[in-house]
Structure formats: C-alpha cells, structure tokens
C-alpha cells in the first residue's frame, strides 16, 4: 500500500514535508487570512491532507491519509461505502474534526476553522436545498451572507442559473423541481460563491442511470468553464473515471491507488484496486527470476507468465505475488495458433460464452486450473468461439501487471453500490 501511494505521488511527498515545516511557524496568520479568504479568493487552491486520521468509536474511518489535490483539478475519491471517502470530504468541509493531522487549503491551515470560515462549498448527497426558499434565494444564500450588493447578487445568480442550464427558474420552489434540476440548483448555490474548492458528495446517487450519464458530461463541462478545483466523492468507478483528471481509490481509510484514471486502471498496484476498478483476472504465483526489463513469474497451477520488471511492487522479501490482466486486453485465438512475440499465453476451453451486445464475454477454463474472463468487442470480423471450443488466450506482456496479494481472503464485493 505504501509503495502504491509513493509511486503515484512521487516527489510530492517531499513538498508536503516542506510545507509542514513552514506552515507550523505561522498558524495564526494563516487562520486570519483564511477568514478573509471566504470573501476574496484569488490565490490558487490546492488541498493537502497531512497525516490525517479520523477515529469513530475506536475505529479509524480515515487512517493516516496523505493527499494533495492541485488547483483546477477534477479529483475523485473512489471507494466502497465505509472506506472513509465521505469522512475525508466532511473533514475538508469542516463538518468533522480530524482526530490527528492537519488539513491545508491553498497553503493555509484550516484544520480548526468552522465550515462557515472556509472558502469551500459543498454539493450534498441529499442536495440539502432550503425548502422554505425559492430557487433564487437558495442560490443567493451564500452571497447574502457576504453582504454583496443587491444588483450584483441578482446578476451573479442569473448568470449561474444560466451556466447550470436553469434560466428563468428563480421563482420556483425546490419541491417543484425534478431530481436533476435540484442537483443543478445545489451546484449553482455552491458555485456562485466562487469557492477555491468545490466538494461533491455522491451528488449523482439519486439520479437514474441515463440522467447520471448526462450530468457527468455536464459537470465536467461546468468544471472546465468555471475552473474551480472539484473534489468528487463516489462509489461509482465509471463516474470517477469519466470525469476525473486524477482519482484515488480508498479502502479501509487508506489510499490504495492514485493517479490518472488510465494509470490506475491499466497499472493497478494493489489487489483491491485491480478488483474494485473494473474487472481483473488475478492469478496467484511467485517470482522466479528477473532478466533485463522482464520478470518471470511461475503460476501456482503451472506455467509461467512474463511481466514488465518495473511493474513488480515491493513485496517485502516475499516472492508470492498475483499476476493480473484485464479481460478486454486478452485476445482469443483458436487452439494451435502461434502466439506473437512478447505475448503471454494460456491454453484453455471456453466454458461460458455470453453475448452482451457491445461484445462477447467468455469464461475460459484454463490449463492452469483457474478460470479466466476474456472480453471481445463486437466488431464483427472475428468468429466467436462457442462454449466447449479449445482456445489460446494471449495478451501483450505490456498489459500484464502484478500486485501484492492481500494477507487473507478479503471480500471485495461492494464494487457497485445502489
């Protein structure tokens, strides 16, 4: 796990240490400028969690979290329910106090600031629109607290409702709005304050699948338009991958993997990330040898698989490892076909072949005694193998990854929520 974070964050670890030293010298000044920051927010925004731990009833909801989000980034915290992602977000919003550690916002220590003194706005999971106020007053709520002049409020609210595509909705009551419209109002209410950072707590979970996909694109468009840092919390991996510049996969209060969606997906560094983010075939084995840029791993059921040497994580002296490959990276060839150079291959027999519309999913009983799932796109020019057919599964060495096995068999079934 530690290696995972380090690999992804790299040199930023060093910069956190540096900030820590300078920050602790002037916490008072940082606090007062934080207060002013609610009104004027001109500095670049970034978020830092420094060794943050949150304990509820002796259990660590967030466990020694170190995280840095750059200004203007769309960053997602992704994980199953109870992984600590929402707690992290709530600590950033000021609704929970960290048990240990510090939180910086734009270089200022905000750890002990109440929510109303933080230059952060939140889109709540339930939207939390004020039911006694109409759309205009809901959106204007934050501006009124800043005692902004009336005409200016009117202009900015109108502008923001335009951006979220709800013009002329000012007079509506929030109870008269659909779920998608309520979400847009919640977004407008937060964004109109031009915060340094926008927190979004599973804002799509109440929307149906079609609207959700539409809102994902919309949200990304708005983020690009307003240029504010977004911190997005979700359990939906597709949602996180669609919108994020970078994402972190959380589990048991820790970050299991972090980076761009493509990096984290293509090169998962832990068994949890490999199973949670998309689907993975994981084969248990042990390292045999490394020569040059290639490491050979003996699979427990027999046979060997070659992986790029730089993708072997720090195993702490043990040779036990799990080799992984994504189902869509595997090519299915008729038995006896010659395998291309620099490819891994396993022979097997198709047990189940399922047509899913966009493709075919195969479950292949391999000669290693394990089942492997492979996925072929429905592009029409291949002959689809049927169940019972002998096949060879082959994929490039480059698409093979290795992860450190989990100490015990742990259930990772919470992948898809609601």
């Amino acid at each position: 796990m530690a290696s995972a974070t380090q690999k992804a964050v790299g040199g930023k670890y060093m910069s956190i240490g540096a900030t820590k030293a300078t920050e602790s010298k002037a916490p008072k000044g940082a606090r007062s400028s934080g207060r002013a920051g609610k009104i004027a927010n001109l500095e670049s925004a970034d978020v830092e969690f420094i060794n943050v731990t949150k304990t509820f009833n002796d259990a660590n909801a967030v466990d020694d979290l170190n995280l840095r989000v750059e200004a203007g980034e769309f960053f997602s915290l992704l994980g199953p329910s109870g992984c600590g992602k929402t707690t992290s977000l709530r600590m950033l919003g000021g609704f929970e106090d960290p048990t240990k550690g510090r939180i910086l916002l734009g270089g200022q220590d905000v750890t002990n600031l109440p929510p109303y003194r933080r230059d952060v706005n939140t889109v709540f999971q339930s939207y939390a629109l004020f039911p006694h106020l109409n759309v205009f007053e809901n959106v204007a709520f934050g501006l009124r607290r800043q005692r902004i002049e009336k005409n200016e409020i009117k202009r900015r609210v109108g502008e923001m409702l335009e951006i979220v595509d709800l013009p002329n909705y000012e007079k509506r009551q929030s109870s008269q709005l659909s779920g998608g419209q309520q979400q847009r109002v919640a977004l407008a209410r937060a964004l109109v304050n031009q915060p340094k950072l926008l927190l979004l707590d599973e804002p799509m979970s109440a929307l149906d699948a079609k609207l959700r996909r539409q809102m994902q694109i919309e949200l990304k468009r708005i983020q690009t338009q307003v240029g504010i840092t977004f911190l997005y919390v979700t359990h939906d991996q597709e949602e996180a991958m669609t919108m994020s510049d970078r994402l972190a996969v959380m589990w048991h209060g820790r970050i299991e993997g972090m980076g761009s969606p493509k990096d984290v997906y293509d090169n998962p560094t832990t068994e949890f990330v490999a199973s949670f983010l998309g689907a993975s075939n994981l084969l248990a084995g042990s390292i045999v040898s490394t020569s040059g840029s290639r490491t050979t791993i003996a699979i427990d059921g027999g046979g060997t698989i070659v992986v790029p040497a730089d993708r072997v994580p720090d195993l702490g002296g043990s040779a036990a490892v799990k080799v992984g490959v994504r189902p869509e990276k595997i090519g299915i060839l008729p038995a006896g076909t010659a395998v291309a150079a620099d490819h891994n291959s396993i022979g097997g027999r198709v047990r189940v072949s399922t047509f899913t519309g966009v493709g075919n999913q195969y479950i292949v009983e391999t000669t290693l005694g394990v089942e492997v799932t492979a996925y072929a796109q429905n592009i029409g020019h291949q002959l689809a193998p049927r169940s019972g057919d002998e096949v060879v599964l082959s994929w490039p060495v480059e698409h093979t990854f290795t992860v450190k096995p989990l100490p015990t068999t742990v259930e990772i079934n919470e992948t898809e929520g609601d």
Binding site: K38, Y116, R145
Partner: protein, 284 residues
C-alpha cells in the same frame, strides 16, 4: 378488439362495488357530523343565551328564553371585576406563552440534538417532561401554593406567570420536538457551508423550518393558559384571572357578559383556525 373489450371488463366489478356500498357509505359522514354536533352543541347554547334578555334588576343569566337582545354586547364592559379579570387572563396568557415558547423550543432542540456526553441527564429530563404533562394539576397547584407560602412570596401576577410557564413548557417542547424529528441536519450544514454563522443559520434556516411546530406549541400554551382554573385558583391572590372569576360568580349567578366573553374567545379561535387553513391552502 381486445383493447376495446378491456374497459367494460373493468367497469363491471366497479358497478357491483358501488351497489354493495350503497348504505354503508352514509356511516362515516353521519358519525362525523354527530361527533361535531356533540362537540359544538354546548358552545351553540352559550352563544344562544348570550342574546337572551334577563328578568329583574339582578342582570343574571337564566336559562329560559326571555326574548332577543344584543344589550350585553353593547354593555360588555359593564361588570368591573369581570372585565379586569378578562384582561388579566389575556396578559397572563401572552406573557406565559412567550416565555414558555422560547424555553420550550430551546429545550426541544437540546433534547433532539445532544446526546449523553454533552447533555448529561437527558433521560431524566425526558421523564420530567412526561411527568409534567401527566401529573394531576391539583397536585401542582397545591404544592405551588405550599411553596410560595413557605418562602413567603406574595401571590399575584408573578406567581401566576411562573406557574403557567411551568405547565406550558412541556406542551411546547413535545410539539416542537415532533417537528424537529424529521429535520434534515444537512440543511444546517449547507447553511454553515455557505458562510452562515450558527446564529444566522438558526434564524434563517432552522427557525423558519420549525416555525409551524413552534406556532402550534405556542397556540397550545396560550389555550392552556387562558382557561386554566385549578392552578390559577390556588395562586391568584388578589389578581383574579377570568376562569377563577367566573367560577366565583357562579355561586351568586353569572352575568350574561360572561357568555359574551366566551363567544368572543370562541370566535377568535375559529378565526385563527380558518386563517391557518386559508394560508396553508395558499402555500400549497
């Protein structure tokens, strides 16, 4: 064809159902009107006799019809003790309602929001609230009298206010707490998030949203206060509230102005009820 057939197939059982319900459908309306009559009849009698003439020079209510008059409405303030006691009751109800509503609302919020480590004795508090409602008023009245006599506190407006606040708080607390139970605390978090301090959050978000509960509690406190007899009778001393005065008057006979005040209180009550219905409809 099948599409055309379907409606008729559905209509038949519906017709049978209406036939079967033919006489039973009168049960509920009849029952409702009987209950309403049962509740309203005494009040109608009171209103009716407030327009009755009196015989003789005593000007006391008699329950035989002596002819219509609106005399008592013109001379509503002709009985000095009665008018004074009426205004005393109004003042008493307003002051005690105000105090009880503020204290009761605060208590309700504390009971809903805070738990053991921060609010020790919460369980005991809940029991006291319940006891306050359940305890016989005669016990409260007698013990309050004992208390004030022991500590040599003169009975009057102040002791009445203290007593009325005491027995109204529980009603306000229970009503406001019911309203708070369904309150989404994310709304308050949203207000903090948008830069509102706790005080602003309370006045702009929490209070407006629990206002129906607060008003209902206040109305209850007012109604309980204005017609309280038992406790007030123990504590009135020289300031006599309306119900105590009326009770005292029954020994010699009550002046018809009592019915005028009764009718006025009832009319204001009905007016409030109608107003609240109209406002609720307008909002919906």
């Amino acid at each position: 064809m099948t599409l055309l057939d379907q409606p008729t197939a559905l209509e038949v059982p519906q017709l049978e159902a209406t036939k079967k319900r033919r006489w039973t459908r009168f049960v509920l309306p009849t029952y409702s009107w009987l209950v309403i009559a049962y509740l309203v009849f005494p009040i109608v009698i009171m209103i009716f006799y407030s327009f009755n003439k009196t015989i003789g020079s005593m000007q006391l209510v008699s329950f035989s019809w002596n002819g219509f008059t609106s005399q008592w409405y013109h001379q509503w303030s002709n009985v000095p003790g009665l008018t004074a006691s009426f205004w005393l009751s109004i003042r008493l109800a307003l002051v005690s309602t105000l105090i009880a509503t503020v204290l009761g609302t605060m208590l309700a919020i504390a009971l809903v929001r805070y738990r053991s480590p921060r609010f020790r004795g919460k369980g005991a508090f809940e029991q006291v609230i319940f006891l306050n409602i359940a305890a016989p008023e005669i016990v409260m009245g007698a013990s309050l009298l004992g208390l004030f006599v022991t500590f040599n506190i003169g009975r009057g407006f102040l002791t009445l206010v203290l007593a009325h606040v005491m027995f109204s708080i529980a009603y306000v607390t229970v009503t406001v707490r019911a309203r708070l139970a369904g309150f989404d605390t994310a709304l308050e978090e949203a207000a903090y998030d948008l830069g509102a301090t706790p005080a602003v959050t309370f006045s702009r978000v929490t209070l407006p949203l629990i206002m129906p509960g607060v008003l209902a509690g206040a109305l209850m406190a007012f109604a309980i206060s204005i017609d309280d007899f038992v406790t007030s009778n123990f504590l009135s001393g020289s300031s006599v509230p309306f119900p105590v005065w009326v009770f005292g008057a029954t020994r010699v006979g009550i002046p018809p102005q009592v019915f005028v005040f009764g009718t006025a209180i009832f009319t204001v009550g009905i007016g409030c009820a109608i107003l609240s219905i109209v406002l609720a409809r307008k909002k919906a």
